[in-house]
């Protein structure tokens, strides 16, 4: 029996953030499930919803804000599983700027990523009542590049970091944890759901397709579980898949450990409460360009994870 | 494609005497090679029009050798360029070999020696001379033979592989003459071809040209500033005056006959004709003032 093909589009370059999939691939979990999985790495200009709309993938990894926004734009993405329970997004500030609480952010220069990561930020600022359009009494926003140099070079008071990645770059740059002040979005109550798996709604009407995805999700979860248990080995597997040869072992191993803290251990099924919270944050967006304007309907399904349970 | 080439093929570089052409001796009886009627050309420039040619009437019969002489800037080059369909007359009529100038050009009826050598700097002398042959599709072997022959004719044999900038001014001019002769056109338009040559070479080339003209059925339009040269070579000398360029005299030189030894230039008839041309020229200058 020929293996069923599944193409997965990642959100970013191969790193421990996606270790579960690479481990499942390397350990043969996909093959055991009768799948032939192709993992397409992402990059700064790869928008997974675009790829899936163009037929380039069956499943994509995306953050929920971006996925819901795409859904409103006419790409009917549906969350089929949510491996990441918690958000790793943080705002990291230099302690020597005197920032201690979110209220101190007023009038500061903040670095924000924009590839979908800005929505929780905007929601947070709205919650704090800080304007982001540069008007007095608000904050100055910079579109941050891929790294944390603005913080190190004092071009910004705070920058966005992921708990599993950029934060450690700051540490590597010679900062001690006590020289930094960190605001986790999770703690601020503005965390949106991060890496989830999405597929196209019309295709989900096809039972066979759902069954195929169910196998895929189950195998991936197995991969994630293994990765969480064996972070060093998982990191090595990721490194083998990094064609650029630029990643370092130290960094990936650390990342894997941090990622493990965010994972959902209950089998990847989306918790509707988390979903509702994310939607609420996005609707509260409070900027001139709200992320989504109305409550999405049918944006998630347990059909795949349920099928998996059978 | 290669009518001219094919035509030329029949005449190997060593020109055998062509078929007898006695019938063509009398001027302006045979269908004219050039027939201009009321030809005018005005250049429009930023500061007003320049009347380069005005109301020029001229008929040239096959086998004629017509020289043009006139003050600098009187329109000689312009007239030749009109015949060659390189300028568009702004008035009057012009036929070349019975058809319009453009048709004649497309038929490759003529060869043109420009006032400046106009050699392509990226080609050696030999390849510059071979250029028209290449374009007319003459086979390589024959091309080589002809180039050698004509470079010899203009005494440039040893310079075949030099590039134009390695030649003196006169040598460049001679190369451009060889280039026009080598495909053996029936009609030759030559714009001051011998201007940069010393007397001896000039005499030599005059004689060569005359011989070529006599032996083949060529018609030649020839611009020169040398009155003796004009009289010596021509069946008729056309004297022009400037701005607006027009014909003020046509001097018939057939009286000198077709066979013209160099010594003929001391004959009284020759001197008389030269004097008449000179007077025309002087009169032309008077117009200018």
């Amino acid at each position: 029996r020929a293996a069923e093909r599944v193409t997965l589009q990642l959100k970013w370059v191969p790193q421990a953030q996606f270790a579960g999939y690479y481990v499942a691939q390397a350990k043969g979990y996909y093959k055991e499930a009768g799948l032939d999985v192709t993992i397409k790495p992402g990059g700064p200009d790869v928008a997974p919803p675009q790829v899936i709309a163009g037929g380039g993938a069956d499943v994509v990894v995306d953050w929920m804000p971006s996925a819901l926004a795409s859904r409103e734009k006419g790409v009917p993405l549906v969350n089929i599983a949510q491996p990441f329970k918690k958000s790793g997004l943080m705002l990291t500030c230099r302690a020597d700027t005197g920032i201690k609480t979110p209220a101190d952010l007023k009038g500061r220069t903040l670095g924000v990523w924009y590839a979908g990561n800005e929505y929780p930020f905007l929601a947070w600022m709205a919650k704090l009542g800080l304007k982001t359009d540069g008007s007095p009494g608000g904050v100055t926003v910079l579109k941050q590049g891929f790294n944390v140099d603005p913080l190190i070079q004092r071009q910004a008071d705070c920058v966005s970091t992921m708990s599993y990645n950029e934060y450690w770059q700051v540490i590597d740059a010679g900062f001690k944890p006590e020289q930094l002040v960190v605001f986790r979005y999770e703690d601020q109550g503005v965390a949106a759901l991060e890496d989830g798996l999405y597929a196209l709604e019309p295709k989900l009407k096809d039972k066979a397709f759902v069954a195929r995805l169910a196998k895929f999700v189950a195998a991936s979860e197995k991969g994630w579980a293994y990765a969480a248990a064996h972070p060093d080995e998982a990191a090595e597997i990721v490194l083998e898949n990094d064609a650029s040869g630029a990643q370092t072992e130290k960094h990936q191993k650390r990342m894997m450990r941090e990622i493990a803290k965010l994972l959902d251990t209950s089998g990847g099924r989306l918790d509707p409460a988390d979903y509702d919270r994310t939607v609420a944050i996005l609707l509260a967006g409070g900027t001139d360009q709200p992320v989504i304007t109305r409550k999405p309907e049918g944006a998630w399904t347990h059909a795949v994870t349920a099928a998996e349970g059978q | 494609m290669s009518r001219a080439g094919a035509l030329a093929l029949k005449q190997p570089p060593e020109f055998e005497p062509a078929a007898p052409r006695a019938a063509q001796e009398g001027p302006v009886i045979a269908a004219p090679v050039i027939a201009a009627r009321g030809l005018s050309l005005t250049y429009t420039t930023a500061d007003g029009p320049v009347h380069a040619l005005s109301n020029v009437d001229l008929a040239v019969a096959p086998g004629e050798f017509v020289s043009f002489i006139g003050p600098s800037g009187c329109g000689k080059t312009t007239l030749l360029r009109c015949v060659a369909d390189l300028e568009q007359p702004t008035g009057g009529e012009l036929t070349v070999n019975g058809v319009g100038a453009e048709a004649a050009r497309l038929r490759r009826d003529y060869g043109f020696v420009f006032q400046a050598p106009a050699l392509y700097p990226w080609r050696t002398i030999a390849r510059n001379v071979a250029l028209p042959l290449e374009i007319f599709g003459v086979p390589r072997a024959e091309r080589r033979e002809r180039v050698a022959h004509y470079l010899d004719l203009v005494q440039l044999f040893g310079f075949a592989n030099k590039f134009p900038w390695q030649l003196s001014g006169g040598m460049q001019q001679r190369a451009s003459i060889a280039r026009a002769l080598c495909f053996d056109p029936k009609l030759l338009l030559m714009d001051e071809p011998f201007g940069a040559l010393d007397e001896i070479v000039r005499d030599h080339l005059n004689a060569q040209l005359l011989e070529l003209w006599r032996k083949t059925a060529k018609t030649v339009l020839f611009v020169t500033h040398s009155i003796p040269e004009a009289v010596y070579l021509s069946t008729r000398v056309v004297v022009m005056s400037p701005r607006p360029g027009r014909i003020i005299d046509i001097v018939d030189c057939t009286a000198l006959g077709r066979e013209r030894p160099l010594e003929i230039r001391e004959s009284p008839e020759f001197l008389r004709l030269g004097q008449r041309v000179r007077e025309g020229l002087r009169a032309g200058h008077a117009y200018d003032a």
Binding site: V13, G54, A246 | -
Partner: protein, 289 residues
């Protein structure tokens, strides 16, 4: 040599000043009392400097070129080769396209009128914005690997060639064109024998720019596909992980690659010029220097 030394010295100075604040900062954070000497030493050895010191870059280059086996993913040479092959392919496609467009523009007025504004407009479309679309579209059509990258490289490099060649193909002056007219040469013949050789200086200048642009295009195209092979992926990864030294090493590899390519075209240019008898720069006027 002197120039290189001066540049190196300048670079060290830049590293010193560029990293000064950062180093002072880091030392202060580490609790040391920052005296000038310590800071100066620290500027040369930072892990993520503003300006890495030359020896840091060199040692990184050494590590990733010599220190890695050829064909390893960590060898810079492997990535350079990946980029080079796409660059060359894109350059070939782009320059041929550029030349073809220029030839069409020079010969067909309707092409110039209808196409040129759109070609210009196409060049103002930010490549990084359309690169993913192109890659996705070509990927959907089953084309992956070298070709999509080459297509983007070609997109960036055909334009300088077109602009330069339109100028160059129109560069022959009037008398050179007139000569071809007198031969009623076909467009193809004029192209091959006049326009093309006259355009060569323009062509080579354009090709140098094009090859550099092609390299940039390839690197840009290597970004959206994420961490795959190539110098672009290397740059991206370096940038993503804030590894300045690695970025610089990749930059140097890219720059060296393009310098080599440009140099190669320069050699071809010199050889062509020699073959076409270009006048050597000549005795350099002493006083004019």
């Amino acid at each position: 040599m002197g120039v290189v030394l001066a540049l190196l010295a300048g670079w060290y100075l830049a590293a010193l000043f560029g990293n000064w604040n950062g180093a002072a900062d880091a030392l202060a954070r580490a609790g040391a009392i920052p005296d000038a000497e310590k800071i100066a030493a620290a500027t040369m050895a930072q892990e993520r400097p503003v300006v890495p010191a030359p020896h840091q870059v060199v040692s990184e280059l050494w590590r990733s070129i010599v220190g890695m086996p050829l064909g390893s993913k960590r060898s810079l040479l492997t990535h350079a080769w990946v980029t080079l092959s796409a660059t060359l392919m894109g350059f070939a496609i782009g320059s041929l396209l550029g030349i073809a467009l220029a030839v069409a523009i020079v010969h067909l007025r309707s092409v110039e009128a209808s196409l040129m504004p759109w070609i210009v407009a196409s060049q103002t479309v930010p490549i990084l914005a359309v690169a993913p679309i192109i890659i996705v579209a070509l990927g959907a059509a089953g084309l992956t690997g070298l070709l999509p990258k080459a297509v983007i490289a070609a997109y960036l490099c055909f334009f300088p060639v077109t602009v330069g060649m339109v100028k160059g193909l129109n560069a022959p002056d009037r008398i050179q064109r007139d000569l071809m007219r007198t031969y009623s040469a076909s467009r193809g013949q004029i192209l091959a024998r006049l326009r093309w050789p006259a355009a060569l200086p323009y062509l080579f200048a354009s090709l140098k720019i094009a090859v550099a642009a092609s390299l940039v295009g390839t690197i840009v195209a290597e970004l959206p596909t994420g961490a795959q092979a190539g110098l672009g992926a290397r740059l991206l990864a370096g940038s993503y992980y804030g590894q300045t030294i690695q970025i610089w090493a990749a930059l140097f590899a890219a720059a060296a690659l393009s310098a080599l390519l440009v140099q190669g075209i320069g050699l071809a240019e010199a050889a062509t010029a020699r073959a076409l008898g270009a006048r050597p720069a000549g005795r350099v006027p002493r006083s004019a220097r």
